[in-house]
Structure formats: C-alpha cells, structure tokens
C-alpha cells in the first residue's frame, strides 16, 4: 500500500456484517439488538399496565402473547412479577446501557476524535457478541419452567438466593445471573476500549479541551462502568455461591414451609450494599451518554457555542465521582444508622449542584439561539425537561427523612422513570435522529419524527407524573393489583388513565420503528453534513469505509462549538454559521475550548 492509503480492505460477508471489527458496524449491531430488546421490554410494560389499569379484565392480546402465563386473558400474579422484573432488567441494562453506550460510543468515539477504529477491534467485536449471547440467554429465561426471574430487577435475596422461594427463583433466576455475568464482561470489554481509544488515539490537534462533550460523557461513563460493574459481578458471584453451593453470604435464619434452612451468618443487606454500589452509578451510566448527546445536539441545533464547556466537563466529572458515594440512599429503610443516613443524604443532595449547572448551561445555550426544531432537538429539549422534573423529585428521595415516607411506592417508580428512563431514552432517540445519516447514510422522515416526539412526551408525562400522587397516597410498587385494597379504591381511575397513556406511548414508538426501518432502507440519501456540524464525523464520507478517512486523518485546529462566530465587522468568520474543527484558526482568533 502506498503512503496515502488507509488500512481498508475488502471483507467477505461474515466478517463485514457478522463478526465485524469495524466500530461503525458494531455500533449498528448494538443499536439494532438494543432496539429489539427495548421493544420487548416496552411491550412487557404495556401488558402489565393492562393488568394494573383494568385488574382482572380479560384481554385477547394477553392470552395471545403470554400463553400459559395467563388464564382466560388475565395474566397470572407470579408472571406479573416476572414481567416487571424482566422489563426493568431489559430496559436498564440491555437498552439503556448496552444499547445506548454501545451504539454511540462505538459510532462516535473514533469518528469524533479522529481515529481509524477502536484500540482493539477484536475486543470490541467480543463486547458485542457477549452482549448478544447475554440477550439471548435473558430471553430464553422467559420460557423455562417456573418462568423468568421474578425478584425485581434488583434481585434482592432471599428471593433470588433460594431456588425454592418462588417459581421465578428457579432456573429463570439462574439464567438471569448467567446472562448478567456475560453482560458485565461485555460492558467491561467495551469500557476498556472506549477509555484507551479516547486517551491514546486522538488525531493531531485533538486536545482534551477540544473534544466534543459526547466524547467526554462516553469517557466518564466508561470509567464509572469499569469501577462499578466489577462490584456487581462480585455480588452476583456470592449470590451464585449461595444458590448453588450452599454458602451463606446473604442468608441467615430462613424458614420455608415451616422448615428451617441450614444457612446462617449471612445478611441480605450485604447484597444491597454491593448491588447499589453498581446500581446507583448505573443511573449515570445511563444518563451521562444521553447528556453528552444532548450537549452536542443543543449546540448544533441552536447554532450557538455550548455554554460553559469546561463547566459541563467538570459537572460530568463531579457527577461521576459523586455517583460512587451515594448508594446508601437506596437503603434508608434497612435499619441504617441515622448518622450514616445523614451522610448519604448529604452526598446525594450534592449531586444537585453539577446537575443544576448542566441544566443551566443547556438553557443558556438555547437562549436566543437560532433554534432548528428537528426531532433530535425536540427530544434533547425533552431530556432537559425530564432531567429537571425527575431531578426535583430526586431531592425528596435523597433526603432520608422524606424518603422513608414514600419508599417502595409509586413515587419512586415515577421518579426514576422520569429522571433515568425518560432522560436516557430521550437522549438515545435524539442521538438516533441526529446521527441516523451517519449510521445509515439516509435521512429519517421529519414529520413522523415530530409526531413521534409529541406523542412520546405527552404520553410519558401522562404515565409517570400521576404516579407521584399514587405514591404519596401510599400505593406500593410491584403489587399485582391495587384494586383489592379499600384504601386505594378511589385511585383506580388514575391507574386506568396511566394505562391509556402507556398504550398511546407504545403506539408512538411504533411510528418511530416504522420510520427507522423504512428510512434505513428507503429514506432519502443523506448529504455529508446534513446539520452543518463542526465535529470530525461530518468530514467522513457518507459511504462507510473501514478506516474512516480515505487519506490522512484530518488535523484539528479548534474546539467543536464554533457556531455563528462573528468577526470584528459582525460577519460570519467563514461566511457560514459554523466552522468545522479542521479549519485553522485565523490570525488573532482564539480557540473557544480554552474559555
């Protein structure tokens, strides 16, 4: 090969599309697998909302889809628990962790930092295939005897530790643990690659303060993942030992059917500590990439530099750090020493500061911007909205004195679905709308995108906002039905309303899936830089090549947020309202990243 050729080589079908080591193909694999899992998780929630909104009523769709999990069109109580557990697991880990980070870290890290590919294409490929195998095992667990895991996505022992506890504690739980162990391996392999690629393979001129905020968010997410996922693996291993070998790490003084079990000396609260040491950072593993994507889109679509670039980075670092020292706020009711509770309250409330900085910066970037309301921008603004509304109820749950009153109620369900679920999903969908032209070389339909957004935002708030009132009224989460309790009789209408909104939300996502599939195959061809963005990915061709740039990798001369930059005469510096990172600084021109 000559000195100007890229390391691109023709590959056969198997290595190009299946066992690909090209980050762009792996990104597509993560996206499509994540969406399939997400669709399954979403469908599960719609089904169990039918039970909650119309308890005991018969639905042909439940009969049709659930088979032996239902009787006469009504889902069985233990299968309701299995559906809730699997919905949580799939949405948190398979859609919003692997689907979100796997897709966008893979797509954007090499493209935005100016690298040919990830540090290790082989590990990257392994990362995807571990994720795929993990997804398949998790789905297989739905069909085993006794049903899928049913202890909730947090799989607290003893339900998860004793195979004889409930039907879902048997083989379904074992497969859940196997799937998650493989998932953790996938996540760690991905994170290793992301960190090393960002730190070692940046192109000439791409200093850390010229990195797009997407890259900063992926970097911090990967670091948080490397620190917290191994602890979940440790927790899961001890659980496997208790389940399968008869140790007593989490078990003590257990009676089943009047018989005392031989386990002694363990504590289920130990599991909670280990689980939440991952579990809380997991919130930010979901959120940070979504926030990074939003930063990029808000700036590009406002045609304004991101406000407070360095403050955004510092905030994400602060959030990443604080996320590791707040896990106890999930455990205020475990008999925790009140002083320790106060410490966790303090560290938890501290997160409000960097979060508020980020929100302030988003709004200030939008302020007086030349806003283009593309679907990506709408979903990004939607994220800012859910991050605020979900964050506000987080202040209540972070305070031990207040949290104890609403612990394990629908208030918590409403809170985390808005702040983590919706924000994560809005960020992911915004990313898909924005980078669809880069992923598939085609454009999504704007009108369908707008319809998708408005249906989603209205129905999402319609689902989760009323849940706070249910929670304040004392309605517990994870109950098969709330209509059996006279105390909650007057709240049934709210449950029915929520279910109608859930059906609407599901229908809205069908529009998106149609738009996604149709546009990927038949959408109009995308131009190279459809949003007039500054970052490096828009300097690559529409057609993908392994190696990304046909010649030398471009050199970077400026930060990525030079939008609407004016010269002394009040004209655009380059005659356009954007200046790509590859354009050298003019004489006396300051680089924005330094401010």
């Amino acid at each position: 090969m000559s000195a100007h050729q890229h390391p691109h080589e023709e590959q056969d079908f198997l290595f190009k599309y299946v066992f690909s080591q090209d980050h762009k193909m792996i990104s597509k694999q993560f996206l499509i697998t994540g969406f399939i899992m997400g669709f399954i998780g979403l469908s599960m929630s719609t089904l169990f909302r039918l039970q909650l909104g119309f308890p005991g009523e018969s639905f042909w769709i439940i009969d049709f889809l659930l088979g032996s999990w239902a009787e006469n069109g009504v889902m069985l109580p233990d299968k309701y628990l299995a559906l809730v557990t699997m919905h949580g697991t799939i949405m948190v880990f398979f859609l919003l962790t692997a689907g979100l980070s796997g897709t966008f870290s893979n797509l954007l890290i090499p493209l935005q930092i100016g690298a040919r590919d990830m540090a290790s294409g082989f590990l990257n490929m392994l990362s995807y295939w571990f994720f795929f195998v993990s997804s398949v095992i998790m789905l297989i667990s739905l069909g085993v005897e006794g049903g899928a895991a049913s202890a909730g996505w947090t799989i607290y022992p003893p339900l998860s530790a004793l195979p004889q506890a409930i039907p879902g504690s048997g083989l379904g739980m074992t497969l859940w643990l196997v799937a998650m162990a493989i998932f953790i391996a996938s996540s760690l392999l991905g994170s290793l690659n992301y960190i090393v690629t960002i730190l070692n393979l940046r192109t000439k001129g791409m200093t850390m303060t010229r990195l797009p905020l997407t890259i900063w968010s992926f970097l911090i997410t990967a670091i948080v993942g490397v620190i917290s996922f191994p602890v979940l693996l440790a927790a899961a291993l001890l659980l496997v030992f208790d389940r399968s070998f008869g140790t007593s790490f989490y078990l003590s003084d257990i009676y089943i059917g009047g018989q005392v079990l031989e386990h002694s000396g363990g504590s289920p609260i130990l599991f909670e500590h280990l689980f939440w040491f991952l579990g809380h950072p997991e919130v930010y593993i979901v959120l940070l990439p979504a926030l990074g994507i939003t930063s990029e889109i808000v700036s590009t679509m406002s045609r304004k530099p991101i406000f407070g670039y360095r403050a955004m980075i510092t905030s994400m670092l602060a959030i990443g750090f604080l996320s590791a020292i707040v896990w106890g706020h999930h455990m205020f009711v475990t008999g925790m020493n009140p002083f320790l509770g106060a410490v966790f309250t303090f560290t938890t409330l501290l997160i409000a500061i960097p979060s508020a900085v980020k929100v302030f910066n988003y709004i200030t970037t939008l302020w007086k911007g030349n806003i283009k309301f593309s679907p990506a921008m709408l979903f990004s603004i939607g994220l800012v909205s859910t991050f605020i509304s979900g964050g506000l109820t987080g202040l209540i749950l972070g305070d031990s004195a207040l949290d104890i009153n609403v612990h394990d109620t629908y208030f918590v369900v409403g809170h985390f679905h808005i702040v983590m679920g919706l924000s994560g999903i809005f960020g992911m969908i915004a990313g898909v709308y924005h980078w669809f032209p880069k992923i598939f070389g085609r454009m999504l339909n704007n009108n369908l995108g707008n319809a998708h957004f408005w249906i989603t935002i209205v129905s999402s708030y319609g689902i989760f906002f009323p849940m706070h009132f249910l929670g304040l009224a004392g309605v517990p989460r994870r109950y098969y039905t709330n209509s059996e309790f006279p105390l909650f009789e007057n709240l049934l209408d709210i449950n029915t309303l929520i279910t109608w909104f859930a059906i609407l939300a599901f229908a809205g996502q069908l529009i998106f899936f149609f738009n996604f599939v149709y546009s990927a195959l038949r959408g109009p061809k995308a131009p190279q830089n459809p949003w007039k963005g500054n970052s490096l990915e828009w300097t690559t061709g529409v057609k993908h090549i392994h190696g990304n740039w046909p010649g030398e990798i471009p050199t970077v001369h400026r930060w990525p947020y030079d939008y609407s930059k004016l010269n002394e005469n009040g004209d655009y510096v380059t005659g356009e309202d954007f200046i790509p990172q590859i354009v050298p600084l003019g004489e006396g021109e300051l680089d924005g990243g330094g401010h």
Binding site: H6, S191, N200, R202, P230, L237, T247, S248, L274
Partner: protein, 196 residues
C-alpha cells in the same frame, strides 16, 4: 496522536504498541474493584455476631514466598531479554511457570488444611468467615490461571526465539499481570491474616 498511513500489519503493530499497556492497566483496575467489592463484603459480614476469627493456614505462608519469588524470576527474565541473554531469559521464564504451578499446588494444600480443621466452604457446618477464605483465594487462583496461560505463551515464543531486546511487549504485558497477581495475593494474605 495518530498518523496512520502505512500498510495494515504495520498499522496494527503501531496501534498495539500504543494501546496494549493501557488496555491491560484498565483491565487491572476492574480486577482491583472486583476484589475491593469482595473484601468490602467481608468487612460488612464481619459485623455479624456469629463471625468466627480464623487462623490463616500455614501453607498460605509458603504460597506467599513462592509467588514473591516467581515475580522476581520473571523480572529477571525481562532483564535477560533486554540484555539479549535469551537463553537465560527462557530458563527464568520456565522457572516462573514452575513456581506458579507450585503456588497453585500449595493453594490446594491450604484448602485441605482448612477443611481438616473444620472450616468448610459451604453446607450446614459452614460459616461465612470460612466461605470467604475459600472464595477469595479461589477467585485469585482463577485469575492466576490466566497468568499461567500467558506464561505458557511467553515460554513458547521464547523457545521459538520470537523475542528480542527491542521486541518485548508480549513479555511486558504478561510480566505486569504477573506482578499484579503477586501484589493482589500479598494484599489478600495480609487481609485474611489481620482483618478477617
């Protein structure tokens, strides 16, 4: 910073040179967090009223000496390779492998000692304090097997004369991992002796 413009093999070698060590180091951080999680779990479990203070089996002392010695021989192997004394390098690498196997054997003897003194891994007569002894050391041993595999690769490549004073990346990676396993063992040993 990247300037890739040469053929594929050279490109891959350049990327490997740049990224292999950082990949390993971040991998090691994840292993550190894994054991930090387990040893933290032990500290939490220790507060339980039926926790039993256990003595470290004497065989673990021998394990400690063996693994420390193996780190030394592997380091010597690296020095020999850098000084182009490849024959000595191969011998010390093989010696390291033998010491690694000896460490493994002493672990099994140590578990036997624990078992004979009535400390069980699981079951009716077990206690989490004993279970942690087995779990922590067995999980370390599991990581050590990966180290032994890497040693086997280095031994094979040494015998095939694949290394030279300027081509030592493979040995460096394996050596770093092996030193890490030694440090991890020393940490676990003192942790089990003084904390557990």
């Amino acid at each position: 910073m990247t300037t890739i413009s040469l053929d594929n093999i050279k490109y891959k070698a350049e990327i490997r040179q740049k990224t292999a060590k950082p990949l390993l180091w971040i991998g090691l951080i994840s292993i550190v967090m894994f054991f930090a999680g387990l040893t933290s779990a032990l500290i939490v479990s220790k507060s339980n009223s039926i926790w039993i203070k256990l003595e470290v089996p004497s065989m673990f002392f021998i394990s400690t000496i063996l693994i420390l010695f193996s780190s030394l021989t592997y380091q010597l192997s690296m020095s020999f390779t850098k000084n182009n004394q490849l024959k000595f390098a191969t011998i010390t690498t093989i010696l390291t492998f033998v010491l690694g196997i000896s460490f493994t054997v002493t672990q099994f003897y140590a578990w036997q000692q624990l078992y004979q003194s009535g400390i069980f891994w699981a079951g009716e007569q077990s206690n989490p304090s004993g279970s942690y002894f087995y779990a922590l050391t067995a999980l370390h041993l599991l990581h050590l097997f990966a180290g032994l595999i890497s040693l086997l690769v280095v031994v094979t490549k040494s015998l095939l004369k694949k290394y030279s004073p300027t081509n030592v990346l493979g040995i460096q990676l394996s050596l770093t991992y092996w030193h890490f396993l030694t440090a991890l063992w020393v940490y676990l040993f003192f942790f089990l002796k003084f904390i557990a």
